[in-house]
Symmetry: C2
Subunit: 110 residues, 2 copies
DNA sequence: ACAAGGTACCTTGTAATACAAGTATGTGAC
DNA sequence: GTCACATACTTGTATTACAAGGTACCTTGT
């Protein structure tokens, strides 16, 4: 999958997944890897950014099958940010498609 | 407009505009700046990339109002690449929206 | 007890790309 | 002669995704 297209969308995707329920980084990689394809080297810096923006907060939970898991929970600001990102994403997609799938572009035989 | 979202889409947008008719960089900036917002510092390196991929070819046309214009014309390979990009864009949007606008995400209580 | 393998965390360094700011040249207006 | 505009181009900076590596915990086999 094209790396460049993902730029700026992964934070929105992660926030959207967290909106459905708390999770931890390793699991997010697993969940999002079906389809979106995100890797560990990406998620950890990303989670730190989200936390620095105060969009998520963390708590530790012990695991029976490995080290403690650091769960992330969406804050109120996180929900707000997610909503804004969804809007921005929608407008962006509309603008791109207005250019790329313009009525005149390919179909007509002129 | 969010810079990061544009990553990887501008080349597709430029190819799509060129599919409707030849143009030169300065004009592309003007056209795409209504909506997409692309800047000169972006377009010139981008055009060179497109040319290196052999997706566009150039020819010079003298202008009565300034330096000669370097027009870009889509090659056959360029049309093919544009079609592939459109497909990839569509799948990408679908995958993102499957995550971000998932049925379960925001509406339900509980 | 020890090795192996999966879970889970995190940190480098690298590549791609968009942009602001600057350089240069031609043309016409004042 | 200077100013503004059209047009081409360059350089340096920021953001981000990723591969590759490293640490630590826990279970299972031997």
């Amino acid at each position: 999958m094209k790396t460049q297209l993902k730029k700026g969308t992964l934070d929105m995707c992660v926030l959207a997944v967290l909106a459905k329920g708390d999770s931890y980084a390793y699991q997010l990689v697993t969940q999002l890897s079906t389809g979106m394809d995100i890797s560990e080297g990406t998620i950890y810096p990303l989670m730190r950014r989200l936390q620095q923006e105060a969009w998520v907060e963390t708590y530790l939970v012990e695991s029976a099958s490995g080290p403690s898991r650091k769960y992330y929970r969406l804050t109120t600001a996180g929900h707000t940010a997610l909503a804004a990102m969804r809007d921005e994403w929608r407008s962006f997609v509309n603008e791109v498609e207005a250019v790329v799938f313009a009525p005149d572009a390919s179909g007509a035989s002129s």
